[in-house]
Subunit: 344 residues, 2 copies
């Protein structure tokens, strides 16, 4: 592994052919006789020659690197997504670099520029919604695939969960259980269409079932971290309020927040679901633990990553003229953090 790697012209010389022939043979491009091709391929394999991809990239004007830009790899939902995408693309000879925008659209933009500068050949983007992004997303030099986000003006390829429906069925579940005072711990609605659409689904459900939406049952603009969920619970339960005035159930924008929320409740003797029901979104692995048993809405991350990989592959090989848009049906997974409303 230590000797200087061969170059294509060295290989060509050894074989007594020209570099172009070697190149053609290796890229199975037409214009090489089968016998010569075979010979080259075997030889190359034997001596372990591998083309320098940087040179290829420069020469071709494109690489086989794909950028995956997402919020934070420490969120298990994203870790799953990244893992799936990466695994699928690896086997096709693409390598994917993951960037953590930390939900900051400036960082996101930097990464996008990075990707262009580095001749990345595609970007899979869980975008931080912003007016700016909405403007340029459609006109990047390289193919973009939006994942789990949607923006007003972008109409390129896309793959999302129906987050409106996710919010709707989550809320309906609670309503079915007899809850009337339902709060919502919202994510960063401005920067996440997923979050805002879940919120809208929630409101729609309230509306359909003639329930009031109380702004003061809700918390807004929470970042997606566990600790923030903890603090949210703290602020909710430490402000004195008649029990009857307090929501009996909460929708929580993602599992991480919900876990933090439950953590606070556990520490302070607030029983779930006896005192309060909660349902959230994502269905990360930890939500299914017996000790947790979180009722949540699955986004089917496995499907999502598979579709994302497939779609990106398609964009890279033969881009369809009609951008493909795939929508995933969310599924409510009822576990143990929700129960029938009981008069306090």
């Amino acid at each position: 592994m230590s000797e200087k790697p061969y170059t294509i012209s060295q290989v060509a010389k050894m074989l007594g052919v020209s570099p172009s022939t070697v190149s053609r043979a290796m890229n199975n491009a037409p214009g090489v006789s089968d016998s010569v091709r075979k010979q080259i391929l075997e030889f190359v394999d034997e001596i372990g020659y591998r083309p320098n991809t940087v040179a290829q990239s420069l020469s071709r004007g494109r690489s086989n690197m794909v950028a995956l830009i997402l919020g934070d790899i420490r969120n298990p939902f994203y870790a799953d997504l990244a893992f799936g995408i990466q695994k699928a693309l690896d086997t096709k000879g693409f390598i994917v670099t993951t960037f953590n925008s930390e939900y900051d659209y400036k960082k996101e933009k930097q990464f996008i520029q990075f990707a262009e500068q580095y001749n990345y050949s595609g970007i899979i983007l869980v975008t931080v919604n912003s007016e700016e992004a909405d403007k340029y997303l459609g006109h990047l030099d390289i193919p973009v695939l939006l994942v789990n986000r949607i923006t007003k003006h972008y109409n390129g390829p896309l793959i999302v969960t129906d987050n409106f429906q996710a919010g709707y069925i989550a809320a309906r579940h609670l309503i079915n259980l007899g809850h009337k005072r339902i709060g919502f711990l919202a994510g960063q609605n401005k920067s996440s269409s997923a979050s805002s659409q879940r919120f809208q689904g929630f409101q729609q459900a309230l509306n359909n079932y003639q329930l009031d939406y109380h702004a003061d049952y809700c918390l807004y603009d929470l970042d997606w971290r566990m600790n923030t969920g903890y603090q949210a619970a703290e602020s909710i339960f430490s402000t004195p309020r008649e029990t009857k005035q307090r929501p009996s159930a909460f929708l929580i924008a993602n599992d991480l927040l919900a876990l933090g929320f439950m953590n606070y409740c556990g520490e302070h003797g607030i029983r779930i679901p006896d005192d309060i029901s909660i349902v959230s979104f994502d269905d990360i692995a930890y939500s299914s633990l017996h000790q947790i048993q979180l009722t949540t809405v699955s986004q089917h991350v496995e499907t999502m990553s598979k579709e994302a990989a497939d779609l990106m592959l398609q964009l890279l090989t033969d881009p369809p003229k009609e951008p493909k848009r795939v929508i995933i049906e969310p599924t409510l997974i009822v576990r143990n953090t929700t129960q029938h409303y009981q008069e306090p």
Copy 2:
């Protein structure tokens, strides 16, 4: 963002200077008058010219990409590690690509070759221990930094937790609590020095305190997934055995396995810590939840990632002749899954 990017010669032409001068100015290399340099820098900034990094990479023979090869990004411990390293290196102008070896040394090797082929300028490696790796790790063309693994013959730069000590203090904690029959759910000892050293620490502690090591209290070669921990518990508790013959406590090779183990226990009415004490390793975020409260040994992943990033940076800029090796002290975090041994 859509117009074709400028090339260095275009920029040079616009300024009426030569490409080399622009290059020198931008890399603050000597040989440009301050006034010209300033002018160039300003102009470049204004029009937003950014050098094509692929071309740079080819020309220089090295890039500013660093590969991070680890087992599985879905393990929160690795997600934390990756996040920390990436964040630290990003700000220094390096981009890091994460590869999931899935604990398979063949994949690992592939990724290493990949990295060389792509002109990566450094590799941060949580290696899958293997004889093969041990041979070539020292002689790669590019700087390597081993993280949380150690091999027999490799003596390059390194950063590890003292995993022997980790195993030792974990076991001692249990022994202090009066446990005498202690089992171990081992990870993949052959491919993970972290795992095997924890195991050795455990055995040493037993030895020091005159306790017997029972091979049949132990399970070996578990992969690191939650579900495997679940199955381990299943196999342990479903084989009939006198309670007095059963371990009263377990060391478990990492938190993920432990979580799976606890999951099974929860589902089957096995109370922790009343019926069985457990302590594991990593201290991932989910272990600290009130509903979990796992006693575990922290590897201080934050320190680890910071050190790793610093060390890699050093290797890339001015490699010291003596390879630096840093060892991190593990810390036992006592929570709620361990208690005094009680006669059954």
